[in-house]
């Protein structure tokens, strides 16, 4: 296995900028998830690592070797495609064997390795079938077997689960994590699904419009989003964000949201004062926002609707200035009636503060 290092990597297609000045280090034996909405450049990054696209700037290393000018076939990587890209005219056996044949592995060793890979992924019974005779989940396994069969330096996976149904996807997710652990494999995993990213990644790299937004452990990215994009992208339902102007109040700085002046905690306030910010966005995750039981909360709001999900409920509220926020609470709590007036409250330590102009996180 091997590390992968991207330094200042950029990619421009004709007029379109796909990836901008990307610095990213995938450590040896790490499962790094590239996460972002469609068109954010994550697949392009993966394809550049594979050698299927040529970067227009920067340097890509696999281990210590600069691979910018190395052909895909000589990079010793394995890739799992969203479509699985199985060779339809070959049997499962021939599909798994293909990378070994291409590398002129002797026949006996080939047979042994194919059996080992097939065994690992439970494909032994299916070796003589053609891909067309397999279910989606089985095809996905064949694609994985074809990747693991020759012990490459690293695995590249491009949304490998997105063609599976929800139930199978969850099961395969677990298996993939297990496989990665058993093989001690370096994996770069591209997905737009934040659940996959959170559950599978050792670290998550979030991209938006070709720009790296944040790299960190799933918990880190969730607890301390580096900017508004990450804050809103990670988490379901997404983080509530409310925009307001900075005002000096009695007890220090506050954020004016309609009639309410939210106090800004001291640590954040000093950062705000240092950079002279006038507009902030405050964020709070739905599970940290509460409908105050006795009407003692800070923010007045009107309940728009309540969504019951069985184990929890989402209370969608409208603030006086029209912004919508969601409260996520356990289903054991009483659901407020629609159109009723409530007051909302959130613990100060769970508030996230962002620069109103740039969206960057303010303070710790």
């Amino acid at each position: 296995m091997s590390s992968i290092t991207l330094t200042g990597v950029g990619k421009t297609f004709d007029q379109t900028v796909a990836v901008v000045d990307l610095d990213l280090a995938v450590e040896d034996r790490e499962l790094l998830v590239l996460l972002g909405p469609s068109g954010c450049g994550k697949s392009t990054v993966l394809r550049m690592i594979a050698g299927l696209e040529q970067p227009t700037a920067g340097e890509i290393r696999i281990g210590d070797r600069v691979v910018n000018d190395v052909e895909p076939k000589d990079r010793d990587l394995a890739m799992v495609f969203q479509s699985y890209a199985l060779y339809p005219h070959m049997t499962v056996r021939a599909n798994i064997e293909f990378p070994l044949r291409a590398r002129k592995v002797p026949k006996e060793q080939r047979v042994a390795q194919v059996h080992e890979a097939a065994d690992m992924l439970g494909l032994t019974e299916l070796l003589d079938r053609k891909p067309a005779q397999l279910s989606g989940g089985q095809r996905q396994r064949v694609a994985l077997a074809r990747a693991v069969v020759r012990r490459p330096l690293a695995f590249l996976m491009d949304e490998p689960l997105s063609n599976l149904d929800a139930k199978l996807r969850a099961a395969t997710r677990v298996e993939l994590v297990d496989l990665q652990r058993r093989l001690q494999a370096t994996v770069v995993y591209v997905t737009h699904d934040q659940v996959e990213a959170m559950t599978m990644g050792h670290r998550i790299a979030i991209l938006d419009r070709g720009l790296l937004q944040q790299v960190g452990s799933p918990q880190d990215v969730y607890d301390r989003p580096a900017n508004l994009f990450v804050a809103r992208f990670i988490g379901t339902p997404p983080m509530n964000t409310v925009r307001g102007d900075v005002e000096r109040g009695d007890g220090g700085l506050g954020l004016r949201v309609d009639a309410v002046l939210l106090p800004i905690p001291a640590a954040t306030a000093s950062a705000v004062e240092a950079s002279g910010l006038t507009e902030l966005v405050v964020g709070v995750r739905p599970e940290h926002l509460e409908v105050a039981p006795d009407g003692a909360g800070v923010l007045p709001a009107t309940v728009e609707l309540v969504e019951h999900l069985g184990h929890e409920q989402h209370v969608v509220c409208r603030l006086p200035d029209g912004q919508l926020v969601t409260v996520r609470q356990g289903s054991h709590l009483p659901a407020p009636a629609a159109r009723s007036s409530v007051r909302l409250v959130a613990p100060t330590e769970h508030l996230h503060w962002f620069d109103g102009a740039t969206g960057a996180r303010v303070g710790s």
Binding site: L52, P72, M79, A85, P88, R103, R150
Partner: protein
């Protein structure tokens, strides 16, 4: 068993509508295909009299035997088969080669694609006239290049005439072959090529083991249609050689034409036409049976 109950009136009405809808094409096929087809068999069983106006005489299978065993027919058959073998595989291979060359995302590639496919808009007649001029024994450019100026013309030389006609045909059908192969290549998912590249396969290996097998339905189609068309070649023969020299280019369809319009012998022509029909029929069945097993249509 449950019984399907259908109103009898409704069923008859459906059937009537069905026949009504089929009728126009049935009439057209009847007049232009089925009747001539049947009449052909009738002609084959009747010897054409030496002078027009005399009644045709029923001779059973005598005429069929005579024609099939005649050296003239056998030569025709041999020439036709050679013509197919010269033109079809070469046309497919060249078309594929051009398609592979043009299957890159490069600037200006559309210019090449247009040039490569242009002969599809060229008629057999135009192609023949072009090559007739190029091969002219006195002023032809090819004649000059071949160093045969003042010599026997390429089209008059029994050893080269069929090859010259074949080259004309290959050139004229290359556009279609190129378009078919290009379409086939575009139907091969990029993923597969890319997967093979990451799997460590070299470009030739990717072509032989991934692209070509994926193209097999296209190749198969091109081979069947190409063979059938080649077996029925007529225009280029008529314009370039009229079957000569020494019957070296006298393909079956041309010999049928000569029998009818030059020698006025419908009976002999009918036998040859029927022979050609069975050759093409058998060929198609064999190709379907044989090739379908090796073709991967599965996705």
């Amino acid at each position: 068993m449950s019984e399907h109950v259908r109103a009898p009136g409704r069923r008859a009405k459906d059937a009537l509508l069905g026949y009504a809808l089929v009728a126009p094409s049935l009439v057209l096929f009847g007049v232009f295909v089925f009747y001539p087809f049947g009449k052909n068999f009738w002609l084959a069983l009747h010897r054409t009299p030496p002078f027009p106006g005399l009644p045709k005489k029923y001779v059973g299978l005598d005429q069929v035997g005579d024609v099939l065993s005649s050296p003239e027919f056998q030569k025709s058959l041999k020439v036709t088969v050679l013509f197919v073998l010269y033109t079809v595989p070469t046309g497919i291979v060249l078309g594929l080669l051009l398609a592979v060359l043009a299957h890159r995302q490069l600037k200006g590639m559309t210019v090449y694609r247009t040039i490569f496919s242009s002969t599809v808009a060229t008629s057999v007649a135009a192609a023949s006239v072009i090559f007739f001029t190029l091969l002219n024994p006195q002023v032809g450019l090819f004649t000059y290049w071949l160093g045969r100026s003042g010599d026997l013309g390429v089209l008059e030389d029994p050893t080269t005439a069929l090859i010259a006609v074949s080259i004309t045909t290959i050139w004229q059908t290359l556009g279609l072959s190129f378009i078919l192969m290009s379409a086939g290549l575009q139907g091969v998912p990029d993923d597969l090529e890319e997967a093979a590249a990451v799997d460590g396969a070299s470009a030739p290996r990717r072509f032989w083991h991934v692209t070509l097998p994926m193209l097999s339905p296209t190749l198969f189609f091109a081979a069947v249609v190409g063979s059938i068309t080649a077996f029925q070649a007529f225009g280029q023969i008529d314009l370039l050689t009229e079957g000569g020299p020494n019957n070296e280019t006298n393909v079956l369809v041309y010999s049928v034409y000569k029998d009818v319009f030059r020698y006025g012998n419908d009976g002999v022509a009918a036998v040859k036409a029927i022979a050609l029909f069975f050759i093409v029929l058998i060929l198609t069945v064999v190709q379907l049976r044989f090739a379908e097993r090796r073709v991967s249509y599965a996705r």
